[in-house]
């Protein structure tokens, strides 16, 4: 499962989370303004953010962009492919021209720019929804397990261990191949989240365990605050930077997972475009029309790279003294 959760798993290894844990725990929460300033002067983080923003805008305005370019994602342009040469695109670099900005698909002549733009919608929707869902579940479960301990902790921890012991990719394939093909985007989000939340919950749990022993929690308890108030008003705000870092680092994993599942044919169903699925379709053509896999491949690679860089930088900023008063 190299493409999906190795990075996440690495973060969740004893070495990974303990260092995050210690540094995050031993110092007061970062001041927002300093964090922002450190962020703005970091060109790696800025460049990554710019690319991510570009893709988000492309996803949102996909219909407008395809109106501008003149070709929709489902339109076949028979004039752009050469039937005598096995239907490969006419012109250099996979048929890149003023008409088709990123060229056309060999075989069908569909416009690649339009399919990239619409594919960004799938990638972004799945990855961001899965991140939101895993973050909510992970934080709540981690808080509950860490704060209440005892039986609650035992049950939640066992469920987490069970899910993490699973070969997640194979299991996602199994579930998705058994499920009916309608509304794949929703199913992808659910399946990815099902196996994703324990990695965050584990870290939230261990931080909650140490936070609940601190004086301010005891003070709140002594003044008669309810468990709910202590968890959400006292402990949760202290977990803010951990949650932001973990969530940002989870996004690239989910983008990769969605693309990988679509690549294997259990993700988004054609004709709806997705980057992973486009690369899968490009595989038989890689020798004659390399641009067909290079373009979606590059978009995918840069998106994952940007999110990973962003997560790394935010973590460095949040854990280093730079952002602290």
């Amino acid at each position: 499962m190299t493409f999906s959760s190795t990075s996440l798993e690495a973060e969740a290894t004893p070495a990974g989370d303990s260092s995050l844990h210690e540094t995050l725990e031993s110092s007061p929460p970062a001041s927002g303004r300093r964090l922002l300033r450190a962020f703005l002067t970091d060109w790696g983080a800025m460049l990554s953010s710019a690319y991510i923003l570009l893709i988000i805008l492309m996803a949102i305005f996909a219909p407008l962009l395809t109106m501008l370019s003149g070709w929709g994602p489902y339109e076949f342009d028979q004039a752009a492919i050469d039937p005598n040469l096995g239907a490969i695109p006419i012109g250099p670099f996979g048929g890149i021209s003023a008409e088709h900005w990123f060229g056309v698909e060999p075989g069908s002549g569909r416009d690649i720019f339009a399919r990239i733009a619409y594919g960004a919608r799938v990638s972004m929707t799945v990855a961001l929804s899965a991140t939101l869902l895993t973050t909510v579940i992970g934080v709540v479960m981690g808080l509950l397990a860490g704060y209440f301990g005892g039986l609650v902790d035992l049950v939640i921890s066992r469920v987490m261990e069970f899910l993490m012991a699973f070969p997640a990719l194979i299991f996602m394939i199994a579930i998705l191949s058994a499920l009916p093909a309608d509304n794949r985007v929703f199913l992808l989000v659910v399946v990815i989240s099902l196996f994703g939340w324990p990695y965050l919950a584990r870290i939230v749990r261990s931080q909650t365990l140490s936070l609940k022993e601190r004086e301010f929690v005891e003070a709140a308890k002594a003044s008669g605050a309810s468990s709910r108030r202590i968890i959400f008003r006292e402990i949760l705000p202290n977990l803010q930077s951990t949650i932001i870092v973990m969530a940002t680092l989870a996004v690239p994993g989910y983008i990769g997972t969605e693309a990988g599942l679509s690549f294997l044919g259990v993700g988004v169903v054609p004709p709806t475009p997705s980057w992973g699925q486009m690369i899968a379709a490009a595989t038989p053509w890689y020798a004659v029309d390399p641009m067909y896999f290079v373009i979606p491949g590059a978009f995918l690679f840069l998106l994952v790279l940007s999110f990973t860089t962003l997560g790394d930088r935010i973590r460095t900023i949040a854990t280093s003294g730079e952002a602290r008063s």
């Binding site: 499962m1 190795t6 990075s7 070495a15 199994a174 191949s177 690549f263 294997l264 259990v266 790279l305």
Partner: protein
């Protein structure tokens, strides 16, 4: 120690049982009727009934489930087109799409998957640890930054994109590597080796990146420990400090993670084998998805869960044996 092994074994059996139950339930509840699929196009309702009866699909869930679990331990007999097919334990089922026993299909393809897995594992362990130690030695210098960039890129590139790119560059454009051909090691070791270079590299790259980061972080942490400072202060040779004091504790966690990653490789093999058209268990899984061959997917899921769980247990036990500090924690 015996108590720990015992409780671990029991826990492992429980998890394996739950995985089997969970997987079986998903296929039982969610998937299309296998009888209809087996029956094919020229199908009559009577024939579907007959197939259901033969397969025991008319039985309630638990009966079928225990039949499957029983087959794993004692073997079972399938009735296929009127004839009986013997399936010895551990029986993983019968694939009606290919008219073969699932167990045989997997065993035939296991050597290829094992070849890819072992080669890649050696590559990423060596590459990751060497790059990680070098980065730690040259912390903050050019080499460290270079590896940091390389690591970030390697972690981010999806392995199927990398596979296509490398194949295009080295096979099509430069012609340095021959087109992959199906040869056995004994027939033509040279061609065999050239065939597997790209799959090994592609599968190893992502892991190597993670190992580089981990090794670097661990070595840098260990170098700041008191015992390393003491060893240096005693005037021990730098080489000896490195080998005996710094590297050993820094690399122990790497070894344990390595065990788990190797056990989980079946997942990674799915994509690598599919892209390179290597006929291993991973490709079998991918093909079974397209053909909707559920007994095979079910069996591969179980098998990979089995590997992962066994891997986890071996790693836990090894860790307990290597590091006495864990023992007290593990019993709590």
């Amino acid at each position: 120690m015996i108590r720990i092994v015992g409780s671990r074994l029991l826990g492992m059996l429980v998890v394996l049982f739950l995985v089997t139950l969970f997987t079986y339930a998903i296929f039982f509840l969610l998937s299309a009727d296998p009888a209809v699929q087996i029956c094919g196009k020229n199908c009559t309702p009577e024939r579907i009934e007959q197939i259901r009866l033969n397969l025991g699909l008319d039985q309630p869930f638990w009966t079928q489930f225990w039949g499957y679990v029983g087959g794993l331990f004692t073997g079972r007999t399938f009735t296929v087109a009127g004839a009986a097919v013997e399936c010895a334990a551990p029986c993983l089922g019968y694939s009606f799409q290919t008219s073969q026993l699932v167990g045989d299909m997997i065993v035939q393809r296991l050597p290829i998957t094992a070849t890819i897995a072992v080669g890649a594992a050696v590559l990423w362990l060596l590459g990751g640890v060497v790059a990680g130690v070098l980065s730690a030695v040259k912390e903050g210098r050019f080499l460290d930054r270079f590896f940091a960039g390389l690591t970030l890129g390697s972690m981010s590139i999806p392995n199927y994109v990398l596979a296509l790119a490398l194949q295009f560059i080295f096979v099509v454009a430069l012609g340095w590597l021959p087109f992959p051909q199906a040869v056995k090691f004994t027939d033509d070791p040279g061609q065999w080796f050239l065939n597997f270079i790209l799959p090994w590299v592609v599968l190893a790259v992502g892991y190597a990146a993670v190992y580089t980061r981990l090794t670097r972080a661990n070595v840098i942490d260990t170098l700041q420990e008191n015992f390393v400072r003491t060893a240096r202060a005693k005037g021990l040779q730098p080489g000896l400090v490195w080998r005996r004091h710094a590297l050993r504790p820094a690399l122990t966690p790497i070894v344990t993670i390595f065990g788990m990653d190797v056990a989980g490789l079946l997942g990674g093999a799915v994509i690598t084998e599919t892209v390179f058209g290597l006929n291993g268990v991973g490709k079998l899984t991918a093909d079974s998805i397209t053909a909707n061959d559920q007994p095979v997917i079910m069996a591969v899921t179980l098998l990979s869960a089995f590997f992962v769980i066994i891997g986890n247990m071996v790693v836990d036990l090894l860790y307990t044996a290597i590091d006495p500090r864990v023992r007290t924690g593990a019993s709590a």
